[in-house]
Symmetry: C2
Subunit: 194 residues, 2 copies
């Protein structure tokens, strides 16, 4: 049984606000792919828009520009090895979903591959073509049109990292397969001025 | 005594690769400011370039476009309250450095304010003007021209999160002053295909 629940679009930026490494997916013309991306960020709350760096050499980039859309999935800690693997191999010559036994569904609005098993959240994005930044910085922009999260860690618009949901704690790639896991949730208070 | 050591520019992107919330600084015409930014990412390894979202309403944006440069500091967990505070108040009417007793030095190449006390790393960036993305997505691009990190947590081009350097573990903003701290460092291995 899935624990995923829809996330209101004005809360969608929160799903990647804290800088998790994400999985980028796309499907077009009967082909599909999934890759890892450490470089993504929200750029606007409403409408919810994000930026993600997609290298020119990637197969995913071809599929995104073909489909006009992409998916973003936020893997939990339990998917670390898979995240590293799909970020290290190209999907040109193999279907990574089949190869790694990834159970993907089609997103409700754009049909992009979305993962729930092991993930904390997903977002479907409509590609916003920005020829210059794509060329100069490999930076793609997208508008989030649907999103959902596992209610055990993100509910009612808020993250809730606890000792009971460690498998869903987000991954943050340091480089070369080395990750830190975000886990210790704390609330800031205003400091007294000096 | 400072534990900061220079970071080679081809390693600079690693300082924000894992999505930490950062402090953005700028100084121009005798004024200076510091704000928090959860939305930043590297966009290229070599030359090291980054993107960061700077809202049109911010005083920092005025200073960046005036100076043609900005600083990025990566606060450690011990600076959580300060990070929240400088991200919540405008520097138009006060000098946040003086107000909060922030000890900033001038960066070696561009003279941007840099913090070492309590921070894990800093980067000085030359602003790359991109009128369209600044207007449409508040997204600023910059090229890193100098960088340094506290050798107790980043040394020889690599992060090293341990139980001995928790005060320098990076902050990742979830929203409304709620942060997760990245701490549990783990190494991925390739999964066996299904």
């Amino acid at each position: 049984m899935s624990h995923f629940r829809p996330v209101e679009l004005h809360h969608a930026s929160r799903l990647i606000n804290h800088g998790p490494t994400v999985l980028v997916t796309a499907a077009h013309g009967g082909r599909r792919n999934i890759m890892a991306a450490a470089w993504s960020m929200p750029v606007e709350f409403t409408p919810p828009r994000i930026a993600v760096v997609i290298d020119k050499s990637t197969y995913t980039r071809e599929l995104i520009t073909g489909a006009g859309a992409f998916g973003i999935c936020v893997p939990g800690a339990a998917l670390m090895d898979l995240t590293y693997a799909v970020g290290s191999e190209s999907g040109r010559d193999m279907d990574k979903f089949a190869h790694y036994g990834i159970d993907a569904a089609a997103g409700p609005v754009l049909g992009m591959p979305i993962l729930e098993q092991g993930c904390a959240a997903w977002l479907e994005c409509r590609w916003i073509r920005e020829t210059h930044t794509e060329s100069a910085y490999d930076t793609f922009f997208g508008e989030v049109v649907s999103a959902a999260a596992d209610a055990r860690i993100f509910d009612n618009g808020h993250w809730n990292f606890t000792d009971q949901n460690v498998a869903l704690h987000t991954l943050h790639h340091l480089g070369a397969g080395k990750f830190v896991v975000a886990g210790n949730q704390v609330q800031a208070t205003f400091p007294v001025s000096k």
